[in-house]
Amino acid sequence: MVSLEVVLGVAAALFGIGLYGVLGQTNAIMVIMGVELMLGAAMLNVIGFLRYAWPDGSSGGFFVLVLMTLMAVEAAVGFALVISVFRHRRTAEVDDLTDLSG
């Protein structure tokens, strides 16, 4: 049967996959995709708590709405930054953006 621990374990695995994408990919769009998966894992956590730890509460649903907003905002600003960088550098590879490295 499904329990809170199982849902949290699946969310942890999804978070790890997203983190692998953020750390291991060189293209900025792929990094954004990794962040989307990590936020998806956070949403799954909230749904798990809502179902198994606090079934009669509605604040958790609101948190999921805020997280969905965050995903949309993160994608919009991320794409805008990628477009801006691409205009100046003609690349979206994060390895090429080393101006601030020591």
Partner: protein
């Protein structure tokens, strides 16, 4: 949905979500990666449905389908090898990234298992649209308005960032300096 029904829906969907999520970063075609991400987050919406969050599940399906299709366009525009036919590798530090990700996921899972969570009887119909509506229009209204303003600012800021020339107008051609009258 009964406990057995929830389990029968949850486990295959969770496996499908993790596999499609992992293949996002394994496939060499960027168009496929975008569609796989859409599949992963769409399946997550189905998991929400299986866990009795119908409203949020359908909202997730709706939002992610729109967002990920837009993302596929961006990927095809910005990838040097969108079709994956040239065999380009767009990864770095693969082993260390995988090591860090696995260690963190295992740590989080360990915390989830070892923590003594409050034992509550699972509700069958938590939370419904009505409850979320009262929450949004009640004590969380200020937060919800803040989220709406955040979206508005992100839209305006995104357009300003992405437009030709950025915030400072169209740049002078290379080698030329602009005077005061420009």
């Amino acid at each position: 949905m009964s406990d057995l029904g929830t389990a029968l829906a949850f486990y295959p969907l969770a496996a499908l979500m993790l596999v499609t999520g992992l293949y996002v970063f394994i496939t060499s075609s960027m168009a496929r990666a975008g569609l796989l991400l859409l599949a992963a987050l769409g399946v997550e919406g189905l998991i929400f449905l299986a866990l009795a969050s119908e409203f949020l599940g359908f909202l997730q399906l709706l939002m992610m389908s729109g967002e990920m299709v837009i993302m596929v366009f961006f990927m095809v525009m910005f990838m040097s090898d969108p079709g994956g036919l040239m065999g380009m590798d767009m990864t770095h530090e693969k082993r260390r990234s995988a090591g860090v990700a696995i260690a963190l996921a295992a740590g989080l899972a360990l915390v989830a298992v070892l923590t003594d969570w409050p034992a509550r009887v699972a509700g069958d119909d938590a939370p419904d649209v009505r409850a979320i509506g009262f929450e949004v229009m009640g004590r969380s209204m200020v937060s919800f308005l803040f989220a709406a303003m955040t979206i508005l600012f992100a839209m305006v800021g995104g357009v300003m960032l992405a437009k030709q020339g950025g915030r400072f107008g169209i740049a002078a051609p290379a080698g030329e300096e602009r005077g005061e009258g420009d």
